[in-house]
């Protein structure tokens, strides 16, 4: 009897430490050849780290890697290419000002002729792209490509490099349900061609839909292995978090038709950098008191710009047309500070970039944006004792861990950073809340908490504009749902007014 074929990839006791943080604490993982293998786990569980070790992008502190049964002694990116390993990163490795073609030419790596033969390469790539049904404008700068297309480009990069073992790290975060479906079709086809696919995600539904086998990461190690056909989402969730979780939850509906908190009319933002379409056009909607208005849409369809335009309406980089009214006041020419002082709380989309001073202590981050409140300053001088007391209360209330006020905010985990921001913004008892992707990168337990806080603020009379690319989040919280596509609002639904499929189609521009 022939021996079973060796696994395409095997990781043994892989360990990786970042400073004092053990990101991978002995990862054991076997991926059979010719399968789609799901890797799931909470944010920060160590999935991406393990994949980077596998690709030779990071040196492991301990442990071994076997590719097709053979020990890979000295991992390196160049070696990975030679072995047919390729990865689509969670954060795309593309350079904005360069064309799609140039990004692909870069991926060819060293050992090629010095002169770039763009014409020849373009012809070859067209053929390859057609074979795989992945259309691409090769001469457009990456900056002008929608996120979905960028991902296509990343996959083409792998295919052009003749990768046999493909790792995709959270590939669906930026896709519409429709595109996700198409991607999964692709992956199945690749598997049927004999390639091995490792799919990293934290969306249970997706792993259930497309994989053959699933490994669950928790706290830096693999805590469970399941055959997809033999498990349930509930079991996987429990493996991920370590305790049973309620997967479905919906807020009670809010009072509709409260007084107006936010009214936007015909908001527009011109195109930049050669892009054909304006970034925002004709955005008109309103948010009332006691109402959560959800903005659904695939990332990159203008949601970020919308939030920026609401916060900085006087800045020409954020708005080139239209008006914004907040709490009945026309604020189109107001400064961000004046707008915030009206009682606007903001949960920014990218919390490290827009919400925090990573190198500064917790108490200072708690103060950021509230430094002029009379409670915290007198005559332009801060009142450290008052700030510390308020910060300590808020940190305890929102269960930010560890509650060390002197610690740098950047050293908090993502979920705790988010809680700190909520503590700060909701602590001002805002009358309008702009919440962008409030639960991104936050674990299942904390998501629940954040959702309840938002609902409680709504019930206390705040208007909430909730921007999220998680359909489930929108469906659970929003009293009204707007769908954005390509810088416009393309649909509006009342609570429960649309099926997930309908929403998905609208998000894809159908």
């Amino acid at each position: 009897m022939a021996l079973p074929p060796p696994p395409a990839v095997e990781l043994r006791a892989l360990t990786k430490r970042f400073g004092g943080l053990l990101a991978n604490a002995g990862v054991d993982l076997r991926v059979a050849a010719g399968t789609i293998h799901g890797v799931i786990g909470e944010n920060g569980a160590g999935k991406s780290t393990a994949m980077k070790l596998l690709l030779g992008l990071l040196p492991a502190d301990a442990g071994q890697i076997f590719i097709r049964g053979e020990r890979w002694a000295r991992p390196s990116p160049a070696g990975a290419r030679a072995l047919g390993l390729g990865m689509v990163h969670q954060h795309f490795l593309l350079a904005d000002p360069y064309t799609a073609l140039d990004n692909l030419l870069l991926a060819e790596g060293p050992g090629r002729p010095l002169l770039l033969r763009r014409d020849a390469a373009r012809a070859e790539l067209r053929a390859l792209a057609q074979r795989h049904g992945l259309e691409m404008d090769w001469d457009a700068p990456v900056a002008s490509l929608p996120v979905g297309v960028r991902q296509r480009l990343e996959i083409l990069k792998l295919l052009a490099g003749r990768a046999e073992i493909l790792v995709l790290d959270e590939p669906t975060a930026v896709l519409t349900p429709l595109e996700t479906g198409r991607l999964f079709e692709q992956l199945r086809r690749l598997r049927d061609e004999g390639k091995t696919v490792i799919l990293v995600t934290h969306k249970l539904r997706e792993v259930m839909a497309v994989t053959d086998q699933i490994s669950v990461f928790r706290a830096g190690r693999v805590t469970g292995e399941r055959r997809t056909s033999e498990t349930t989402p509930e079991e996987l969730a429990q493996l991920m978090v370590g305790r049973p979780v309620a997967l479905r939850w919906a807020a009670a509906p809010g009072l509709a038709g409260g007084e107006e908190r936010l009214a936007v009319a015909d908001l527009g933002l011109a195109a930049v950098g050669g892009a054909a379409r304006p970034r925002l056009s004709g955005i008109t909607f309103s948010v009332g008191a006691g109402e959560i208005v959800g903005v659904a849409g695939v990332e990159g369809n203008g949601q970020s710009e919308l939030i920026q335009a609401l916060l900085h309406p006087c800045d020409r980089r954020c708005r080139t047309g239209g008006t914004v009214r907040i709490l009945g006041r026309e604020v189109t020419r107001w400064s961000p500070r004046a707008i915030r002082d009206l009682g606007v709380g903001v949960v920014p989309e990218d919390r490290l970039r827009e919400g925090l001073l990573p190198a500064r202590p917790l108490w200072e981050n708690f103060l950021l944006g509230r430094q002029r409140e009379p409670a915290f300053q007198r005559g332009g001088l801060l009142r450290p004792a008052a700030v510390a007391a308020a910060a300590a209360r808020a940190v305890a209330d929102y269960d930010v861990r560890p509650p060390a006020l002197g610690q740098a905010a950047g050293a908090l985990s993502g979920g705790n950073q988010q809680k700190l921001i909520l503590a700060r913004e909701l602590g001002r008892a805002p009358r309008l809340i702009l919440a962008a992707q409030p639960t991104r990168g936050v674990d299942v337990g904390a998501i629940e908490d954040i959702h309840q806080r938002l609902v409680r603020a709504r019930d206390a009379g705040a208007g909430v504009l909730l921007v999220s690319s998680e359909l489930e989040e929108i469906r659970a919280l929003a009293d009204r749902t707007l769908v954005m596509f390509d810088g416009r609002i393309v649909a509006e639904y009342p609570r429960g007014g649309a099926t997930e499929r309908e929403l998905g189609l609208k998000m894809g521009g159908a």
Partner: protein
């Protein structure tokens, strides 16, 4: 008397040449993501090496070659500091400028017992005409390499998206090393153009702020070789015009005080820059250390 226009053009080219070398040298490093504040020092070390070798060998060309090597030597120290030892690039750049400003006169003293100057060069030992077009040749080369070669692609990605370069199996720091060293050679030639072309010896502080002007040109040109070189041309033109405007009178009155003429190039630069509008976008990874672990 040649036509005044041609003379002005020639003076513009002469004034621009050292700046063009400097700005190209800065571009080499900065496009790969390495801030280069050390241009002043690179110019000085290139100028010094060129003058010493031209004087000892009586050959302008060997002098020019040595100018490049002088820049290379200082750039190697810079690379060691910022690429190997992850020194803050601004600090290291300023430090090297001070070092070059101090060490060159000390070396003059050691070599020639002269407190700040190398011996004068004869016309035959000087490198006068070649650097004037050589720098434009280099601009063309830079433009071509950046656009049409694989190296150019790597170079740009090292400053824009180093992680992608790394994932493609190309060592980011290796690319940056090459970029910093090449930049050193090019800026060193700028120094040679100063000590062998614009002057007939090395003298203390010969660069006189041209490294900073070259940096300004680089920013002005939005980190692209051709616009940056054109910005040098603008600076060169302003200087040449300033030289010719000194002593002009309006109407029949007293001449305009020379100080107001002398500040003209700087005022023009500020005005043009303000009118140019919009913040220039530097290479995205400029000034960051590339390390696979510390790059998330």
């Amino acid at each position: 008397m040649l036509s005044a226009g041609w003379q002005l053009a020639a003076a513009t080219l002469r004034g621009a040449a050292p700046l063009v070398y400097g700005t190209l040298g800065g571009w080499c490093a900065e496009r790969a993501g390495v801030v280069n504040l050390a241009l002043e020092g690179l110019l000085l070390s290139g100028a010094f090496a060129a003058a010493v070798v031209a004087h000892t060998t009586h050959s302008a060309w060997l002098g020019a070659l040595a100018g490049g090597l002088g820049g290379l030597a200082l750039a190697a120290v810079y690379g060691l500091l910022v690429l190997r030892w992850r020194a803050n690039q601004i600090v290291a750049g300023m430090g090297l400028n001070l070092l070059a400003a101090g060490l060159t006169p000390v070396l003059c003293k050691m070599l020639y017992d002269d407190t700040g100057r190398t011996p004068s060069l004869t016309l035959a030992e000087r490198w006068q005409v070649a650097p004037l077009y050589g720098c434009w040749l280099l601009v063309a080369v830079a433009w071509f390499v950046a656009r049409y070669t694989r190296w150019g692609l790597w170079h740009g990605f090292a400053g824009e998206q180093p992680a992608a370069l790394d994932a493609a199996g190309v060592g980011v720091n290796r690319v940056r090393w090459v970029a910093v060293l090449t930049g050193g050679v090019v800026a060193g030639w700028g120094g040679a153009a100063l000590s062998l072309g614009a002057s007939s010896c090395f003298s203390r502080d010969l660069a006189a702020g041209r490294g900073y002007m070259a940096l300004a040109a680089l920013i002005f040109g939005r980190w692209r070789p051709v616009p940056a070189a054109l910005a040098c041309l603008l600076f060169g033109f302003c200087e040449a015009a300033q030289d010719r405007l000194q002593g002009v009178r309006f109407g029949s009155g007293e001449p305009v005080p020379v100080q107001f003429i002398q500040i003209l190039p700087y005022v023009v630069t500020i005005l043009v820059l303000a009118g140019w509008a919009g913040a220039a976008r530097p290479p995205r990874a400029l000034g960051t250390v590339f390390s696979r672990e510390g790059n998330h």
